[in-house]
């Protein structure tokens, strides 16, 4: 009799352990996605807040089905002469790569050994019309020394929308929707966790439209 009770208790403990471990496994992707989403939002904030002006924007889609993935080209600072004009090194772009499920950050990074004279030859003015053209996101990546680095992973879809660009009364902002998804096997079956992160990143030092 006592053995029977003992086996019942043992069975209950085993079932509880199994349930708890299953819950942990199932909850892990969601929790990690949640952290990734917060981290991703903070990285977008860090890119956009110091920026000066938005250029070409591709909206993309939250489910990753858009033929042209989301991309936003922006004037990240006005550090190089001449002031009020965009130079190559003052540009940056955030673009969704649906193939690798990453959010990429592109900018021109000159090699450390380059002299200021060499940089000034490459770091040419870029007209506003080019900066704002529909093909600007593709063109920008082809410019010399423009390289990309991932700022966020596990993004299956992204949608961007800019507002108040050029406004004298309202700071320009980027509204974004990022869909994070991650698949894994839980107790032998496929489990897909999805987290949608909504956010707005607002420029803190918007400038007049560059020449």
């Amino acid at each position: 009799m006592s053995l029977m009770i003992l086996s019942l208790v043992g069975g209950a403990v085993a079932a509880l352990s199994l349930a708890v471990s299953g819950e942990w496994q199932a909850g892990d992707p969601s929790q990690s996605l949640q952290l990734m989403a917060v981290q991703g939002a903070r990285r977008i904030d860090a890119c956009i807040r110091p920026a000066c002006y938005f250029g070409s924007c591709r909206r993309g889609s939250a489910n990753g089905s858009a033929t042209q993935p989301a991309a936003i080209l922006f004037w990240k600072n006005d550090n190089y002469p001449s002031l009020g004009k965009i130079q190559l090194a003052e540009l940056a772009m955030i673009q969704h790569d649906p193939t690798t499920h990453t959010l990429m950050y592109y900018e021109a990074a000159f090699p450390a050994g380059m002299t200021s004279g060499q940089i000034s030859i490459i770091n040419q003015d870029i007209s506003f019309s080019l900066f704002n053209s529909a093909s600007a996101p593709d063109d920008f990546k082809l410019l010399p020394y423009v390289t990309g680095k991932p700022i966020c992973h596990n993004i299956s879809g992204a949608r961007f929308f800019v507002s108040d660009v050029g406004s004298n009364t309202q700071r320009a902002s980027l509204d974004y929707v990022l869909t994070f998804s991650r698949s894994m096997k839980v107790n032998g079956s496929d489990y897909n966790a999805t987290q949608v992160q909504y956010g707005t990143a607002t420029m803190r030092q918007p400038k007049d439209q560059p020449n």
Binding site: L6, V13, R42, R49, P50, N77, L83, Q205
Partner: protein, 416 residues
């Protein structure tokens, strides 16, 4: 046999129970640990967000105090015209007992541009040192010109020979004598006797001295007026050079500008800013093209047809609008002749008062086209110093720091 069998199984149940209890204990510890980690993750996110928002609040606070220095705590002004920041500022209502974190703000003026500031805000959310966020920014305070024909930092009486074409603002009691006229509104901290003619504006303030609460009037004084003795000049955009204004007193102590004497801008002083460290006397037809600054002493007008006109050379670009006509830091404007006539075509700042040399000069004239500011505590207009006519001219009043309150503060750099 039976006894032996019972003996061989004795303690087995206890062992199994102990095993079950052990597993349950390990499970409970694991659950607690997991729960603790989750709690820590949530707390970290919350504290990071709090530090982020606190640092931004600190930056915004700096922007507010740069725009409204009169609202900043006096203890944090350190005798300067701007708020220098504070350590460990706690935001939120004083009734907040919870430790919500602090932000330390540092503000410093940039060299070469007295309206540009470097601001650093370092926020720390509790527990101290765990979540820290820093924002380094640069800000530009943008000042507009004056809005009043006559402003005074002390009580003022307009004598009968005053003709003011514009608004009057007095940080004290304003009295308007019989015969004086104000073609605009008259506003003061306290209304004195009004026997003059006040036109008002848009049906408001006709023959009435409007009163405003104490503390809402911001008028420049000697410590807030920009130091125009050094200025930036450029004929090529973005290539600035610092000019030291010539010191008239070192050329000729007690400098006197006489008949057909012109004081005009030069290559070495393209802005036409002239500084005297003692009393300056202006005789007949004395003409100053530029800005006359009297650091110590008075401005004595003896001659007829004396004029001071800020240099409007386009070589200085729009920046030239920022120069006034006359600044008398602490002295008086003295009318010393019956025929004395002063035509000032810009902003006139007087630290003292308008008086005479002790004689009565009722036919003397002071014509200000721009704005007149009394910055000191001894502001007054002598009734025997002749006729005072002030015509507010919006095209000549765009001088910063005569308004102590910036219109806007623009963030020019932001780094987080």
């Amino acid at each position: 046999m039976i006894t032996k069998a019972r003996h061989s199984q004795s303690g087995m149940a206890l062992f199994m129970v102990m095993l079950a209890v052990g597993i349950a204990t390990v499970l409970a510890i694991a659950l607690l640990a997991n729960s603790s980690v989750q709690s820590q993750v949530g707390s970290n996110m919350s504290q990071a967000t709090r530090a982020d928002l606190l640092s931004e609040s600190g930056t915004n606070l700096a922007a507010y105090y740069l725009g409204h220095p009169n609202q900043a705590p006096a203890s944090s002004m350190s005798g300067l015209k701007y708020w220098v920041g504070e350590n460990e500022i706690k935001l939120g209502p004083p009734t907040f007992s919870t430790n919500t974190g602090t932000v330390s703000v540092t503000v410093s003026q940039q060299s070469g541009n007295t309206d540009a500031y470097n601001v650093t805000a370092v926020a720390s959310a509790p527990p101290p040192g765990q979540s820290v966020c820093t924002i380094i920014s640069q800000m530009q305070a943008n000042y507009s010109g004056l809005f009043n024909a006559v402003s005074s930092n002390a009580s003022l009486t307009l004598p009968s020979n005053c003709d003011i074409r514009g608004n009057v603002l007095v940080n004290g009691t304003l009295t308007v004598n019989n015969g004086a006229s104000i073609d605009g509104t008259a506003t003061a901290k306290a209304a004195g006797n009004n026997q003059g003619n006040i036109q008002g504006a848009s049906g408001v303030g006709k023959n009435t001295i409007l009163t405003v609460p104490a503390g809402s009037i911001n008028i420049a004084n000697a410590s807030t007026v920009q130091d125009y003795r050094k200025y930036l000049y450029s004929s090529v955009p973005n290539v600035w050079r610092l000019i030291n204004a010539p010191d008239l007193a070192t050329v000729a102590p007690g400098y006197s500008v006489g008949f057909l004497n012109l004081v005009i801008p030069s290559l070495l002083n393209p802005g036409g800013v002239f500084v005297a460290n003692q009393t300056v006397t202006l005789n007949n037809n004395a003409t100053i093209i530029g800005t006359l600054i009297i650091q110590n002493g008075d401005l004595v007008v003896v001659g007829n047809n004396v004029s001071v006109t800020p240099n409007l050379s386009t070589l200085l670009g729009t920046d030239q609008q920022r120069y006034p006509a006359i600044i008398i830091m602490s002295g008086n404007l003295i009318m010393a002749n019956d025929n004395a006539t002063l035509n000032a075509n810009g902003v006139v700042f007087i630290g003292g008062a308008i008086i005479t040399d002790g004689q009565v000069h009722n036919s003397a004239q002071i014509n200000v086209t721009g704005a007149l500011v009394f910055g000191g505590n001894a502001a007054s207009i002598s009734s025997t110093a002749g006729k005072l006519k002030v015509i507010y001219d919006a095209s000549r009043i765009n001088c910063p720091h005569f308004n102590t309150q910036a219109d806007t503060v623009t963030v020019t750099q932001w780094q987080q």
